[in-house]
Symmetry: C2
Subunit: 596 residues, 2 copies
C-alpha cells in the first residue's frame, strides 16, 4: 500500500467513525472560503495531519486518545499563506522567520531566496529548501530567476541560468520560479529569460512575475506574453486591473516598506472586479515589523480596513494563493483531504490568532509557540562567507587623483534621495589634496567603498556619496548590499572605514556603525552575511542599534540602512557602485569617479 | 531552443509588434471571465495557435499575411468546455462527436471512455486517447476507474485496476481519473479504489467523483475523505452546497436525460454561494440532442434561463473547468499565453456560435465546419467486437423448466419502471409448457436474454421481463448494455430473438428491432458495438428507426432503448441480468429465474 493510500484510508476510516481522530475541534464557526460562507456549529476531525471530517458533529470520530479542542464559537480560519516573500528581508533564517510568524497564524510561505542565491547560487537555494522542509508549517521555495541581476557590471557571488532552473525544478520543495524581474529581458525575448520560464512551465510549476514599470503599453503586453503568472509590483488600481485582465494574478503587497494594497484593492471594492484571482502578500518584512506588527495577520487587518470584506480578504491569502500554486488539493481551505492548517480567532476584523494548528498540530496559542523548531547547523561555508584577501587598512579607502594638489576636480557623486530607491547622478567639484580626494562634511560628501567579498580578490572600489548628512568621523558597513551582496562601506574617515570592514568580516557579515574608532551599532548576520539565526526580536533590537548609530553619526534619513543596502544595485538608475567601478545605470556602463 | 521557448518568443515578438500575427480579431466585446468584465473595443492577436495580445488596438501586430476578422462588436467568448462527458452516449466516435459540437462553440471536452473500456480495457482507452489527440479542438481523456462495475457478477469484456491506472497516468492526453462510481468501495476503504485514486493524485491529476446517493451523512463524508474532487451526481440544491463546502466541485449536469441544473443552480442564485467552484457539464448527450439542440451552448442557454447571469454561467464552463483540471494556463480564458479558443456571438443569452476559433484556427462559421476532421481507420478488433460462438437459433432462447407441463411456476421477473433506472423485482406465476416457459403478451411478459459477446463462450442467459408492453411478435437487441456491454435481447418470439442477435452480430453491434422476422429498426454501431463512425445526424436518424421500431412492436415507453440498455447493469437495484445469471442487486447475489 502506498503512503498516499495509507493516508487516504486513515481519513476515510476516521470520517466514517471506524478509527479515532488524532484531534477534534468542536463548535466553531467554519470560514468556508470555498463556498464563501461562515457556517456555525462546526466540528473538524483531524488525523495524520490532515482534515478527515468537517461537519456539524464529529463526536463519532472521538476516541480515548483524541485531543479535543473546544472552539466555543470562535472562527475556524484556514491557515494564512504569504504567496511571495523574501525571508532574507527579515534578516533571520527560515526557522527564525517561522518562529516569528507561525504564532500570528501564518501556516504557509512561498519564499524566493533571491539574496542568498546571489551569494551562494544553487547551493544557497538548496540550503533554504532543506531548512524549509523541516518546519512545522509549509514553506515552499521559488527558484530565483535573475542572479546576478546585472551580468558584466559586477563580480557576482554566483549565477543562475536555465540549467540551474531546470535542475531545481526537480527538487521537492521548489514550487515555481521566483519573480522574473528582468522584464526588459523578457519583452526583448532574451533567450536566457525565456528558457528559464520554459523550464518552469515544462515542470508544471508557477512562474513568478515582477514588472516594475508604470508603462502599461507594449512592454507590459510583451512581458505578459512571456508567461509570468503573477505580479506584486503594481501600485495603482489600473495596474491591478490590467494584470487580472491579462490573465496574471495581481499580488497586492503590504510589506514593511511597501504599501500597495490601499490603491489596488479599489479594483475590487470600487471597480467590482471578480476577486478570485487577487492575492495578498508581504514581499519584504523587517524583523521589527514581524515582532511588533505581525505578518499576514497584519496584512489582513489592513486589507479589511481598506474596505475588503473579511471573507474576500481571507480568500486572497488562503484559497486564492493555494490555487495559484496548484496546491488547492493540499491547503488553502478547511475541507477533507487538506492539511489541517487552522487558525482560531474570536474576531475576523481584528484578527488575532488565539490558536494556530498546522499540519494537524497545535503549534501556537495566544502568541506562544508550543513546538520545538528544527535546530539547524550551518556549515562554515555558510557562516564564513565574507572573504577578504587581507585585513583592510585606512589607505585601502583612499580615493586617489592625478590632479595637482589644491586643484578642483569634477566628480561623479551618488546622490541619495530620501525614501526612494533611485539615486541622483550628481556632478560636484571636489578638491585634490596630496594626490587624493577626501570626504568633506561641510559639503555632505562621504566616501563609499565597495569591498569585494566573495572571491577575496582584495578589490576595493572607492567613490563618493552625497545625502547621508554625516556630521561625525564615522563609517557604516553592510554585507546586505543588493543584489550581489558584496560589502559596502560609507564613511567620513578612512580609519573608521577600515575598522568597519574588518569588524564586519570578523562576525561573518551584517551591518555595522563605527564612530570615532568605536563600534556603536551592530547586527551580525553570519548566515551568508544576510541572516541571523537568532530570534527575530533579538535581531530587531540589534538592527535598532544600527539605526541609532546612523543618527549618532548625524544621519537623519528615514530607513538609511535600506538606502545603503541599495547603493550597489546596479540595475536601478541613476548612479551605483560595484566592485568593478562606478556604474551609470542610465547607460549600463562604467564612468570614472573623478574627471582627472 | 525548446519548442516552448520558441512559442513564447513568438508570442512576445507579436505582442511587441516585432513579428506579424497569424490572425487578428478586431473590435469585439471581450468576455473576460478572469476579471468578470465585458470590455468593449477589444482586439486579439494570435500566433502559433495561441493568444499573443489582447487589448484595445492590435494594429501593430498585423502584417501582410495576417488574417483579419472584424468582430463588429460581437462578444468574444472563451471556447466552451464540457468538463465531464461520455462520447459513447452520443453513439458516435470522438471525431464525429467533435464534428457535431465544434460548430456549437465547444472547444474542449473531458471525456470518460468508460463504455469502451468495459469492452476493450486499456487498449480501448488508448484508442480514444489517440483519436482525441488528432482533433482540432481539445479533447482530454479521463481514465475510467470502475471496470468492471461489478466483479464476480458478470464476465467482463475487460478490467481496469490500479496497475492500468498508474500506466495511463503517464500518457499524454490523460487528464485524470474518470468518475469513481464505486462509492461504497471508497467509503468502505476498498484498497483497489483507494490505490487508483492515489495513483492519480501522485501523478498530479484530477480525481473525478460520482456519489450517487441522496444520503449526505457519514457515507458522503467518507466518500469525500477518499479524495474525489468533483461530482456530477447531485440533484438537489443541498447536494450542490454540501459538495462545495466539502471542497469538491459540484458539476451541474444537463444532458439528454439529466436535468440537474435547475435545482442546484439555486445554490448560487438564491443561497448566494460563491460560484467559483461550480462547473457545468453534460455527462451524456444523445446524437439527436447534439444535432437538434446543441451541446454546451444548450447548457449555457438553459443555465441562464434558470437565473444564472451569463458571466457566471460562462465562467462555469470555461475558467472554472480549466482550473479544475489544472489547465488555466492553457485555456479557459481569453488572455495571452492561452490557446486561441474563441467563440463569436451576437447575443450572450441566446448564445448561437457565429464563428468558432480553436487552437488559433477558424474551425466553424454559422454552423458550418470549415476544417477537415481526422480520418481514423479502425482495426478489425475494434469493428468486429461482437464475438458469438456460432449463429444463434430459436432454441437458444428457450427458457427451460423442470416443472410439469401445464403447471404454474413462481418466476422472478425484471419489472421495468418508466423513466427510472431502478427496476422492480416482480414475482409472477408463469405456466410451464412442454418443459419451457414462454413469453406471454397478455401478461406483458417478454423474454430477456443476455448473450455473451466478448469471449464467444456461447453462453445465453434467459430470463423474463415485464413492462415493455409488446403487442407483436418481435425482438429488440442491443450491444449497448451497460456496463459490460454484452448483447441483450428482449422479445416475444424466439425466432425473432435469434434473428435480432445474428443480424446485430453481423453489423458489429448496435441496436436492432425485428418484427415478424423482418428488421424494422437498426442503428449499427460497429466501433466496439457502441459507436458509429457516421455523422451524428445520420446516427440520430438511424437511432430514430429503433425508437419507431419499439412503437411498432407496441412499446410506448419513454426512452425504451435506454431502459433496455440498463437491464444488465448489475449495480442498480433491484433485479438485473448478466451472462452468469439473474442478479438480485439488493443482495449482490444470483437467484434463479424460475422456482421450479
Amino acid at each position: 500500500m502506498t503512503s498516499s493510500t495509507k493516508l487516504t484510508r486513515s481519513l476515510v476510516d476516521v470520517a466514517m467513525g471506524r478509527a479515532p481522530a488524532d484531534l477534534v475541534i468542536r463548535g466553531g464557526k467554519w470560514v468556508s472560503v470555498q463556498s464563501g460562507e461562515i457556517i456555525p456549529n462546526t466540528d473538524i476531525a483531524v488525523v495524520n495531519g490532515h482534515i478527515a471530517f468537517v461537519g456539524s458533529d464529529a463526536s463519532h470520530t472521538i476516541g480515548k486518545k483524541t485531543q479535543v479542542i473546544e472552539a466555543k464559537g470562535r472562527f475556524l480560519v484556514p491557515g494564512l499563506l504569504d504567496a511571495h516573500m523574501h525571508v532574507e528581508s527579515g534578516m533571520v533564517t527560515v526557522t527564525e522567520f517561522v518562529r516569528a510568524v507561525a504564532v500570528r497564524g501564518t501556516t504557509g510561505m512561498f519564499i524566493d531566496p533571491h539574496e542568498i542565491a546571489n551569494v551562494f547560487g544553487l547551493k544557497g537555494v538548496k540550503l533554504m529548501v532543506d531548512e524549509a522542509q523541516k518546519q512545522p508549517i509549509h514553506v515552499w521555495v521559488q527558484m530565483p530567476s535573475c542572479v546576478p541581476s546585472a551580468p558584466g557590471l559586477e563580480t557576482p557571488g554566483s549565477s543562475i541560468g536555465p540549467k540551474e532552473v531546470t535542475e531545481a525544478m526537480k527538487w521537492k520543495g521548489i514550487i515555481g520560479l521566483g519573480e522574473m524581474m528582468n522584464f526588459p529581458g523578457v519583452f526583448m525575448s532574451d533567450k536566457k529569460m525565456l528558457d528559464e520560464m520554459s523550464a518552469t512551465h515544462a515542470a508544471g510549476k508557477t512562474i513568478g512575475g515582477h514588472y516594475a514599470s508604470p508603462d502599461l503599453g507594449l512592454p507590459f503586453h510583451g512581458y505578459v506574453a512571456g508567461g509570468a503568472e503573477d505580479d506584486h509590483e503594481g501600485t495603482r488600481v489600473d495596474d491591478a486591473i490590467a494584470r487580472v485582465r491579462q490573465g496574471m494574478k495581481p499580488m497586492l503587497r503590504y510589506g514593511s516598506s511597501w504599501f500597495d494594497v490601499a490603491a489596488q484593492v479599489k479594483a475590487i471594492t470600487e471597480r467590482k472586479i471578480d476577486p478570485r484571482r487577487f492575492i495578498l502578500c508581504t514581499d519584504d518584512s523587517h524583523a521589527e515589523t514581524l515582532t511588533q506588527e505581525g505578518h499576514m495577520d497584519r496584512v489582513l487587518r489592513h486589507a479589511i480596513s481598506e474596505g475588503l470584506n473579511p471573507m474576500t480578504a481571507i480568500q486572497m491569502m488562503t484559497i486564492n494563493s493555494a490555487e495559484h500554486f496548484g496546491l488547492s488539493k493540499e491547503m488553502g481551505m478547511i475541507a477533507p483531504g487538506r492539511w489541517a492548517d487552522i487558525v482560531l480567532v474570536s474576531d475576523l476584523m481584528k484578527f488575532k490568532a488565539e490558536m494556530v494548528i498546522a499540519k494537524g498540530q497545535v503549534i501556537a496559542e495566544n502568541g506562544e509557540l508550543l513546538v520545538d523548531l528544527p535546530s539547524v547547523k550551518y556549515p562554515s561555508w555558510v557562516t564564513k562567507s565574507v572573504h577578504l584577501k587581507k585585513a583592510l587598512k585606512a589607505q585601502d579607502f583612499i580615493l586617489r587623483t592625478r590632479a595637482v594638489d589644491g586643484s578642483e576636480v569634477d566628480a561623479h557623486v551618488i546622490g541619495v534621495i530620501e525614501n526612494q530607491a533611485p539615486t541622483r547622478h550628481l556632478r560636484m567639484k571636489v578638491k585634490a589634496e596630496n594626490g587624493e580626494v577626501k570626504s568633506d562634511l561641510k559639503h555632505d560628501l562621504a566616501k563609499i567603498a565597495l569591498v569585494e567579498r566573495h572571491l577575496a580578490t582584495g578589490k576595493v572600489t572607492v567613490g563618493l556619496v552625497n545625502g547621508f548628512e554625516f556630521t561625525r568621523k564615522c563609517a557604516i558597513g553592510s554585507t546586505v548590499a543588493h543584489d550581489s551582496h558584496h560589502m559596502i562601506v560609507v564613511g567620513t574617515d578612512d580609519e573608521n572605514m577600515a575598522i568597519a570592514a574588518n569588524e564586519l568580516a570578523k562576525c561573518g557579515g551584517g551591518q555595522i556603525v563605527v564612530m570615532n574608532g568605536e563600534v556603536i551599532g551592530l547586527v551580525d548576520l553570519p548566515i551568508a552575511g544576510l541572516m541571523s539565526n537568532e530570534r527575530a526580536d533579538v535581531v530587531a533590537k540589534k538592527a535598532g542599534t544600527v539605526l541609532e548609530g546612523f543618527k549618532a553619526c548625524g544621519c537623519e534619513l528615514n530607513n538609511p540602512n535600506m538606502q545603503l543596502s541599495l547603493l550597489a544595485l546596479v540595475v536601478i538608475p541613476e548612479l551605483r557602485i560595484s566592485d568593478l567601478g562606478l556604474v551609470d545605470v542610465t547607460k549600463f556602463d562604467f564612468i570614472p569617479v573623478l574627471e582627472d
